[in-house]
């Protein structure tokens, strides 16, 4: 093997700055998209179980529409197809203020929101019906029952799959490079182009993604322990005692 490794390409010139900026953009777009996905997922997941057919139908439409189209297509759609429909001044404003970032964030958020939604629905449906009825007969309205009893229990039950899906969301943020969001993958590609050092650049990207995901996984495990339902997720709870 004659390849000469040169890891210094990662910190000489502008590389270090690019990588750092890439990490920040990846974290920024992922965090915002995660918040959007969590909000959309919780609301639509809950609506899919309510005793009112039109709301259930609305939530079902959202889920089926967004989860059944590839993420890449949504990225292109929000970036290339939607802005021309907007009024001229708004278009100009958007393209001066990182339209690609917002389009990418939006695509990522609504796509993963549809996937979160299904997890929340399954969490809610795993709760015995009497929990719901006990709340109603205690005088809570249907909305209060969801807000204070059903959703808090469901969210605690689905922390493991949500952790999994959150990692997917972070990794899928790399697709935003296709609409030129300067996130981590975009920046590693840029370093590769400037230095012709593909191995070093992509290794850096790989290691950084791995570190970010392990960090999130650790955080989610802590959250899972903290919010474990006593007597329901027994193994985790008893491991703590």
């Amino acid at each position: 093997m004659t390849y000469q490794f040169d890891w210094s390409v990662l910190w000489t010139g502008q590389s270090g700055e690019w990588l750092l900026q890439g990490i920040l953009t990846t974290l920024g777009i992922s965090t915002l998209a995660w918040l959007l996905a969590a909000a959309l997922g919780t609301v639509s997941g809950a609506l899919r179980t309510v005793p009112f057919a039109p709301l259930r139908a609305l939530a079902t439409c959202y889920v089926e529409f967004f989860r059944n189209v590839p993420l890449l297509v949504w990225m292109f759609f929000w970036y290339f197809a939607v802005p021309p429909l907007l009024p001229g001044p708004l278009q100009d404003w958007l393209f001066n203020h990182g339209a690609e970032f917002w389009a990418g964030m939006f695509a990522l958020g609504v796509y993963h929101g549809a996937r979160f939604s299904e997890m929340i629905r399954s969490g809610i449906q795993s709760i015995p019906k009497t929990q719901f009825e006990a709340a109603l007969s205690t005088g809570l309205t249907t909305a209060q029952t969801y807000r204070f009893v059903i959703i808090p229990i469901a969210l605690r039950l689905i922390i493991p799959p949500i952790a999994n899906e959150s990692l997917n969301l972070l990794k899928n943020s790399s697709v935003a490079l296709t609409i030129s969001v300067t996130e981590l993958t975009f920046q590693t590609r840029q370093i590769e182009t400037y230095t012709a050092r593909a191995f070093e650049a992509l290794t850096a990207g790989t290691v950084i993604y791995l570190a970010l995901c392990l960090g999130i996984a650790t955080l989610m495990t802590k959250i899972e322990r903290r919010f474990a339902l006593p007597g329901m997720i027994g193994r985790v709870a008893s491991a703590e005692h």
Partner: protein, 362 residues
């Protein structure tokens, strides 16, 4: 004046009629029990009263306020009915402590923290959950969880308490203890209570009145003693306690006394009180409870309703014996004091108490 009035209420699930045009009323402060086997419609009736189901016919009203009426298209949702409900599965909210479980409804009603604390402490004392306020609800034992559920239902001082098989998930010993506590609690609070159970002993101990249900209808509605001593239908006889059914034919009826011959028991003679609609020559069923049959190991002087049988099984329960005896192809169950010790295969004499025999047309 009746407190709760159910009039001609029906509920179907697809082809199954769960509750079939039933009517009854519950008095204020009464402990009223719906008793029956699973699928008899008792839980559905309770859920209709709670507002968890909507009736397809009829009306439910409490103190002149219509809660549900199929005809007038009125339906008050469960959270506006002011009823407390306790479920067989406890349904304690797992993400809350005991205190939060009980006090949450009050908090959402906008009561001050001090008032909530006072009410919750009072009700937890009442149900016997001292110093457990801060424990997670689901880390308690079954009996304690059921007390949490009871406290949660009682804390907002509902006008009616609905109990859906609340003791069925507890072990036998705890069930008996809770039965007594529940009765005492109900009397202390004086709350109108509707109790659903399949356990006749529970119904007997707890209730002022019992409605025995079968196939979505009420078979008999009466006090526990009337239900036991004077069952009106064959179903009620069967369901409440153990009973022997003896197929027989009416030989003659003389001055209110009826003489039968037991068709499966070698045509053995039975004498008992006559019933209005039974005539000479009719085929009937004579029912008698095991405790109304006495067993002798030797023939006694009297001959009436005494049969010579052979012992099939004998079971020792400490405080009593349970026998299965056989005559012809008729099997007779009888309870006796432990002093009678007949062994399987031996002969024994059974005496049927004439006044305890009930006759039904077969």
């Amino acid at each position: 004046m009746p407190y709760l009035e159910i009039t001609n209420v029906t509920k179907t699930y697809g082809p199954v009629t769960a509750v079939d045009h039933i009517s009854f009323s519950v008095e204020s402060g009464e402990m009223f029990t719906l008793l029956g086997p699973s699928g008899c419609g008792k839980s559905t009736t309770l859920r209709l009263i709670a507002g968890l189901e909507q009736p397809e016919t009829g009306e439910i009203s409490a103190r002149d306020r219509v809660l549900a009426s199929a005809e007038a298209k009125i339906f008050i949702p469960p959270e506006k009915r002011g009823m407390g409900m306790v479920f067989q599965s406890y349904a304690v909210w797992p993400h809350m402590t005991v205190f939060e479980n009980v006090g949450y409804g009050l908090k959402l009603r906008g009561l001050s923290r001090a008032v909530i604390k006072e009410k919750v402490s009072h009700i937890l004392d009442l149900v016997g959950l001292y110093r457990l306020e801060d424990r997670p609800g689901t880390l308690l034992s079954g009996g304690q969880q059921q007390r949490v559920a009871l406290a949660r239902a009682l804390v907002f001082e509902p006008e009616i308490l609905l109990l859906d098989e609340p003791l069925s998930n507890l072990d036998a010993k705890l069930r008996e203890q809770m039965r007594i506590e529940l009765k005492a609690l109900q009397q202390r609070v004086g709350i109108t209570t509707i109790y659903v159970t399949h356990d006749q002993a529970e119904a007997m101990v707890l209730s002022d009145r019992v409605a025995v249900m079968n196939g979505g209808r009420i078979e008999q509605l009466a006090s526990p003693s009337q239900i036991y001593e004077n069952p009106q239908t064959k179903f009620v006889v069967d369901f409440i306690g153990k009973v022997n059914h003896i197929p027989a034919k009416v030989l003659e009826i003389v001055s209110g006394q009826c003489v039968l011959t037991a068709t499966d028991a070698d045509q053995a003679r039975i004498e008992c009180q006559a019933v209005d609609d039974i005539r000479t020559g009719d085929s009937v069923i004579a029912s008698i409870r095991p405790q109304d049959i006495t067993i002798h190991q030797a023939a006694s002087g009297t001959e009436t309703n005494v049969w010579r049988c052979s012992v099939k099984t004998a079971a020792y329960y400490g405080d009593h014996m349970e026998y299965q005896l056989i005559l012809g192809s008729q099997i007779i169950e009888a309870f006796s004091s432990p002093s009678v010790r007949a062994k399987p295969g031996e002969a024994a004499f059974v005496q049927l108490d004439a006044n305890s025999i009930k006759l039904w047309k077969s």
